[in-house]
């Protein structure tokens, strides 16, 4: 019983200690504590927190996955992953995380979910705009060069045929 209580206390303590060290600006110490957390879920939560607040957003996103494998419905990991994916402009990943976060149906975080959904829509629109613009630019280039080549061929061909007629 005492051992179990110590284990529970240790589990909670690792995440909280990592958070405390991060807030104090000691990220290396926070990382070591996060890596020593006893469960995969807590390791993922603490590591994600540390990396996120150290400014390594891509690294934080990589820390999320092992935790979601262990606990697919963990709200902290899902919400953080959604925000990270949006910040990194990973549209497909963000869509997946936002959808899974929304499925949890936590009434207390509906506003945050809605905000992420709106950002996701803006991101997807920007992606689609960029792709459309790139296609547009490509075909304008092809059409322009084609038109120029036709013009060159026609003008040169007409000049050639006339020169033949000038022979005495």
């Amino acid at each position: 019983m005492i051992l179990e209580l110590c284990l529970v206390w240790t589990q909670a303590d690792a995440l909280q200690r990592a958070i405390g060290e991060s807030r104090a600006g000691r990220f290396s110490e926070a990382w070591e504590i996060a890596q020593s957390a006893p469960t995969a879920l807590e390791r993922a939560q603490a590591s994600t927190y540390v990396r996120y607040h150290a400014g390594d957003l891509a690294g934080a996103l990589r820390c999320v996955e092992p935790g979601l494998d262990a606990a697919p419905a963990d709200e902290y990991l899902l919400s953080t992953a959604a925000e990270l994916a949006l910040a990194l402009r990973h549209a497909s990943g963000a869509a997946s995380y936002v959808a899974r976060w929304k499925e949890l149906g936590n009434s207390g975080r509906q506003a945050d979910v809605a905000r992420c959904e709106q950002e996701l829509q803006q991101l997807l629109q920007a992606e689609q705009s960029a792709e459309a613009a790139a296609r547009r630019a490509y075909w304008i280039g092809v059409a322009g060069v084609g038109l120029a080549l036709c013009c060159l061929v026609l003008a040169a061909g007409t000049s050639g045929s006339r020169s033949l007629a000038v022979e005495p």
Binding site: R51, G55, D56, G59, S92, A126, A137, G141
Partner: protein, 534 residues
Amino acid sequence: MKPDRPLRAGWILALAFTSGAVSLILELSAVRLLAPWFGATSGVWTHVIGVILLALSCGYLCGARMARAEHAVRWLARVLWIACASVAWLPALARPVAGWLVPDGLALDQAAGVLRWGSFAAALLLFAPPSFFLGCVAPLASECVQRASGCSAGESGGRVLGVSTLGSLLGSFATTYWLVPELGLTRTYLGCAIALALLAGIATLHAQRRGVELGSLLILLAALALSRRAEHSLGADWRVLEQRESPYQSVRVVERTEEGTRLRFLQVNEAFDSFQSAWQAEPGLLPEGYYYNTFALPAAWDGRSAGAWNLLVLGLGAGSVWRVLDGTLPSGVRLEGEGLEIDPVVVALARRWMDLEERPGRKIITGLDGRAALAGLAGPYDQVVIDAYANQMEIPAQLCSREFFSSLRERLAPGGWVSSNIGAFGLEDPVAEALAGTAAAGLQSRVLLLAVPFSRNVALVARPGAILPEPGTSEFRAVQLPGLARLASQVSLPGTWRWIDPPAGSVLTDDRNAIERLQQRSIELARARTEQTR
């Protein structure tokens, strides 16, 4: 039908001179017009010059066909009027055309495909039409000269080409040293249109016909009233403090409040989410995410408590580096040295809006390229900072070669530091790897790359001939200032730093430098990473 009155050879040569001048003005100003959306890389220059040359070629051949007509003067007038109308509307059309090809709000990595083809398409839509019609002028003018003076085709062609090329020569110098810096792009284009219109009017008087000329005149008059260049749009919470044109680029200072902190940014030809320099009211560290803060680490590691910290900044911009170090150096240490900024307009705006100033021991050098100026600077410097960028990722080739880093090494004091900002998408980014490898080869020392927190930048640090602290060690994190200590701790995490040793393979050199191809590859790889499905 009334016959055309003969047009004197002198007027025809004036037409050729003016069309030659306008052609070069278009060519040299085109990249400036497109730069806010596409940057000013050699790729953009190639696309613009290529399109204009292609259009001119088509114009020459089509003009040759028109020259066979009985009323060559009428054709000459027509093409001049149409060229005039198409030049006049360039300022107003630039933004809608470029905006159609580069949607607002794109980040750099989202714009990979757009950057590859967009400048070519924009040049086709904007500059091909006027260039085509200007190309028609030369053969028509040659025909008219031949008919007016009775000389041979070779003589008339030579005279027209000679005069046209002189016009191009004048146009090229005038564009760089007077037209764009003094008049700006809008007035330059409208001035060209008026010049073409005046000469087209003279041709029209001799042509005795009215038609397309009147329509073009109306288009010109409308352009004079309405055709204005619109700036690349800013977000709603931005405010433009001042903007000017320089011989090198468009420059503006913008301001916004970010999490309660009033920030100003200096932008040059900037598009996407980029800036050249940042300022806040108090000297010292900028908010998290600004790479300038990493430039303060070497002095903190050095541990000096008195004397001077002799700093050379290549790419001073608005002096962000000076301002950060002014607030982070120990109180007994004076910041001295030189700051090089090629564009004097940048310095002028920075003096006015971003507290840039010279102090005893501190000097600003303008008008010189960093590499060229380096030859006249002996040092020795405690630190050299390289931050000479445009559009966040356009690195001048001469500032990222092995020979350049070798010349830096010669100017460092014993134990001196080299710091550089690299616009890159991570530590494995091709630009970061190439630049770091080249720096390691040129400096003959290992180089440390640090992923700047909350940023799309990588900081390069090197210390030729001396020890550079290992990330994560107590020496690396032994920094007094709390904000710098936090930064040192952030970049001590595994995966946020990387050593690069002098490479055995190829590096970037003055002779062979693929930096622009690496930059394009960097954006494409970043784009591919964002598209990976989880």
